[in-house]
Amino acid sequence: MKMFSVAHKTVFVVDHCPYMSESSRQQVECDVLTKSRAQGVIPLAPVSKSLWTCAVECSMEYCRILYDIYPKDKLVNYVVSDSEFHILNSWRRENQSTHELMAALAAVGPPNPREDPECCSILHGLVAAVELLCKITELQHEKRTALMDTAERVANRGRIICLTNAKSDTHVRMLEDCIQETILEQNKLAACSDRLMAIQQCELVLVHIYPQGEDTLVSDRLKKEISPLLTSEVHSVRAGRHLASKLNILVQQHFDLASTTITNIPMKEEQHANTSANYDVELLHHRDAHLEFFKSGDLHMAGTSTRENGLKETITLKWCTPRTNSIELHYCTGAYRISPTDVNSRPSSCLTNFLLNGRSVLLEQPRKSGSKVISHMLSSHGGEIFLHVLNSNRSTLEDPPSISEGCGGRVTDYRITDFGEFMRENRLTPVSESSHNPAGKLPVERAKAQLERHTRYWPMIISQTTIFNMQAVVPLANLIVKETLTEEDVLTCQKTIYNLVDMERKNDPLPISTVGSRGKGPKRDEQYRIMWNELETLVKTHAGATDRHQRVLECIVACRSKPPEEEERKKRGRKREEREDRSEKNVSKETEDKSWAESERLKGLLEKENPESEVIKDSPDSPEPLNKKPRLIAEEVQPAERAKGPVTLLSMWTNRITAANSRKHQEFFGRATSVNSKFELYQHLKEENGMDVHENGKASR
């Protein structure tokens, strides 16, 4: 159905003239006496509905089904016509509910039989209906605004359902002519108005209602084209049951509905609590829920039955008693809102209450072959019940290659749990439109922005990271990704950093992954260097956000220990010009490492043992404490690694192996500080002589 088909706008025009107060002559016995009380009591005379009551309750039932299945944008405008017209609601979405209409109808009351029939006519209402169809709805307005220069794509069509008691076929023709004329007139008016739209198509459904036991004066007529703008059909129906089933059929035709009967629903009997009888419940829904049946042409195979009135078909589906653990993602090709045909019958309300309580029911398609095919599922979401269509055919995606066979499939140490935690933090929640600031970013854009912040530094595998394997880093890692930090957050981050400094001072082991490693892992100092580098990388990606983020970075830079070999390098750098052979190579390396070295220089501002680290943290430009002696033992960084930057896979690998081994025994001092398994003896002598002993990790001979 198109967005702006005739179904978008329906005007009910109900006759409120004096003759509608006539009795339908269908009597309802509402005093059902139980046997024990029957003696001596005169039962109440049966009541009978007026034509008006019949018309109103059937039109309300039409609206009930319509609103259940299309809660939005299939709109009804209700008009009552007597000596003038009364419009009971508007096209506005907030006016679209049966409660609203019932309240308005109560205010109108039944027709006054003593009113002068000469002044009353359904025509007042019909003219008003045409005028109403020209009025623009909220959806039409929204779409016209959104489409801008292609606004003409928004069509204006509508349907008028007229419930009346016509006098004759000629009378009907007169009504049709009158509508046709009014449309032409109104379209002229609409052409020069922004708030009105010309009618492109109007469908008149005239329902002539007459009391039981009378002969109709109006003949049925199928849909016929009065003009390119107007089609008209006439239904002549007796009031009461017949009218109800006529309007039920009409609502199905008008809104592409179909009927499904759920069969075999077990229900406890009040009298016999331990047994259950099976019941059937009929539901209406969009007919696409039966698409598969229609297409494959096996409607009859799927348990169709034609009703006794021969007008309506329903498809039977069998209830399957639900399993309890139902958190499962079904492959569902459609979900359609339902409305029970007999909403307040006991079986219907039992079924709907069962579903509203959160249970889902699978429905089985009865087949001749005997194989069980689950084709549908009933399930409620937020107080609305949907009929889900499940795919029961062979999947074209069967037997795909497993994800473990593809790219990245052989990697085994993904941070699955951490990413799970990440997903939980990045879950979504509805933001009410009222609380959303229209000038600001849409909530979904803010969600994306949050994902961006959270993933600025996010290593995918365990062996690629140290900090995310450390409980001690968690507070900082959680806070730094925030859009803004409070003073308190900054304090927490700083505390985290001091805590790390403390760990380093105590020489606490770091959780550098050692899985599958052999041989030696990196030394403790090296581990900390890696850790600090990584932490700095993480915080750097956020440092630009606010001054507070920047302060966290500064704190790290100030607090992290300065690798002594840096000191060495700088010294060498100063002397470089004097040296001949390797200078060129070093220069190129130096440029490569420039940014890194820069950060290292900043880090180097503090010795790791320096207890006053905090004091100078805000002045990264303060001069280096030159009086400190460089520590040679840290000069174990390998050349390859240095060339590539602080953390390479090779270095990670080496670190891992070294760490594993170093745990097994107390390392010799010499080996622990060795370079390429070589350790220069009598270093202090050369040092004192001012000679450069080490050159990029190679002992000079």
Partner: protein, 512 residues
């Protein structure tokens, strides 16, 4: 989207094609060459496609049922025999049967019809079929349109000029239109030879079998992926939005939702999301594939060992029982989730929701889903015991409220009996009595059913006279009060007949 290749093996396909200075070819040979090229392309770039091969003349035969074994398809091509005349109608009946048997009637399917443009003669010819289209009974309907959504590609081993000399082109166009209009007619450009036929099949491959490559983003994490089958453009409302919507090649994750919250949403299509190595050349159109096949293992082994975001995402989605909401374009979303098949293999899947701002009513508008960190308190609760979903509709549906419908007499009788039952248990049931009474009153006023109000008033008065001696004095008071109020309402007096007005229990306890 499965493919049926429908190959014309009528005698006219054996017509020779004259080539300058080389051996003579039949049109059939050219067709087979083209199809081989297609199958080779599919084997290397589209290998999850299920393909069937059918041959037809006046009869039809399923040579290779749906599968992914492209060698088998090529083998079958090399063993084609020649038969009598072309009869497209019966062949299409065959396609319809074969497809529905395998995939049902909802699964979209591609049909590649390979023919030479001589469409048969006399009864059974396409011309004849199309001419008597309208004079057929229900039992002899033309097979088009197929019950399943169809893309029809008509590959003519003939050039356009040749087809336009007869009415062949017209008839083929009509055929395409009848199939639903989704598809294309391909003709050979220039003289018939290997090269031009290759070019024609090359354009089919580009048009219908080029793999869909995209980049899946989650903030700064990303992965190159192939989406299979490729997502097709969607038209939502041909009037308001006639331009089809296509899926972006950048798929952006916007956040995550629990499986229980998204709860089996309806989707328009499902796709595998396969991570691919970045710098692998992907579209070779069947040239030199053999060499590459040999190199591939090492390349794919390398790719297998470097971490890939898809694998991480898949693993966590599976463990946590969640889905990732992914944006496919403006106001168009889908979900990523882990899908396991029966053999314990599992995969990253993407399902597409209907385009629009609110594809799933129970999530509300997708553009109004925001990060939980912005909520005043975690909507999932500190221990994940709560959920902000489903979003409740503003107005309850009829079955979720206590609506009054008296279309069937039984509905009315039940409501009256309920009131009487409670009336007999006054004053214990005072609240329920008035609740039911007011419900009936409201409906009767709305329906203009004043006669009922009078009737029920009489019933209550009668109940009053029938009260046993042991009855509480309150019962009589309440009954006559209620009866009186109903009568007032039935007078239509606006003071008593207001819809929102409720009859209040009579105040009988004067002690307080």
């Amino acid at each position: 989207m499965p493919t049926v290749v429908l190959m014309d093996v009528s005698l006219s396909m054996t017509r020779p094609v004259s080539l300058d200075g080389s051996e003579e070819f039949q049109r059939k040979n050219l067709a087979v060459h083209g199809l081989n090229m297609l199958f080779e392309h599919m084997a290397s770039n589209y290998r999850l496609e299920f393909t069937a091969l059918m041959a037809f003349s006046s009869l039809w035969e399923l040579l290779v049922p749906f599968n992914r074994d492209y060698n088998a398809l090529q083998d079958a091509l090399s063993n084609l025999e020649d038969y009598d005349k072309t009869c497209i109608e019966s062949a299409l009946h065959g396609v319809s049967n074969v497809v529905q048997q395998e995939w049902g009637s909802a699964c979209p399917c591609q049909v590649v019809l390979v023919t030479d443009g001589s469409l048969g003669i006399g009864k059974g010819s396409l011309r004849h079929s199309l001419q008597n289209l309208k004079q057929r009974g229900d039992d002899k309907k033309f097979p088009l349109p197929f019950p399943f959504p169809t893309k029809m590609y008509i590959m003519c081993i003939a050039n356009a000029e040749e087809l336009q000399m007869t009415d062949a082109m017209e008839n083929l166009e009509e055929l395409l239109r009848l199939s639903g209009g989704d598809g294309q007619i391909f003709t050979v450009d220039g003289p018939l030879c290997m090269k031009t036929v290759q070019a024609m099949f090359g354009s089919l491959i580009d048009y219908a079998y080029s793999p869909f490559h995209a980049v899946l983003h989650c903030g700064n994490l990303s992965s190159d992926v192939q989406v299979f089958p490729r997502p097709e453009p969607v038209v939502m409302d041909e009037e308001v939005e006639p331009i089809p919507r296509t899926v972006n090649t950048d798929l952006e994750i916007v956040g995550f939702i629990e499986i229980a919250d998204i709860s089996s949403p309806p989707v328009i299509s499902r796709h595998l999301v396969l991570p691919i190595a970045v710098n692998k050349d992907v579209d070779e159109v069947g040239t030199g594939t053999t060499d590459e096949l040999e190199e591939e293992p090492s390349a794919s082994q390398m790719a297998g060992k470097s971490p890939n975001f898809c694998v991480l995402l898949h693993g966590s989605l599976k463990v946590e029982g969640m889905v990732a909401l992914v944006q496919l374009g403006p106001e168009w979303y889908g979900m990523l989730y882990s899908q396991a098949d029966s053999k314990k293999k599992s995969n990253l899947m993407m399902s597409l929701f209907e385009p629009g701002s609110e594809p799933l009513p129970w999530l509300g508008k997708i553009s109004h889903l925001g990060p939980i960190s912005e909520a005043a308190e975690n909507p999932y609760g500190e221990d994940d015991s709560k959920s902000p979903f489903p979003v409740q509709p503003q107005v309850k549906r009829s079955y979720a409220q206590n609506v009054t419908v008296w279309i069937k007499a039984s509905g009315l009788q039940t409501d009256v009996q309920k009131i009487l039952r409670n009336a007999r248990k006054l004053p214990d049931k005072t609240q329920t009595f008035y609740k039911e009474l007011n419900r009936l009153r409201k409906a009767a006023l709305a329906f203009g059913f004043w006669e009922l109000l009078k009737g029920v008033a009489e019933l209550l008065e009668r109940e009053c006279t029938l009260l046993p001696d042991s009855a509480h004095p309150d019962a009589a008071f309440q009954l006559s009060h209620a009866a009186h109020q109903l009568k007032l309402a039935s007078s239509g007096d606006s003071q008593y007949a207001a819809f929102e007005h409720n009859i209040q229990p009579m105040h009988t306890d004067f002690s307080s």
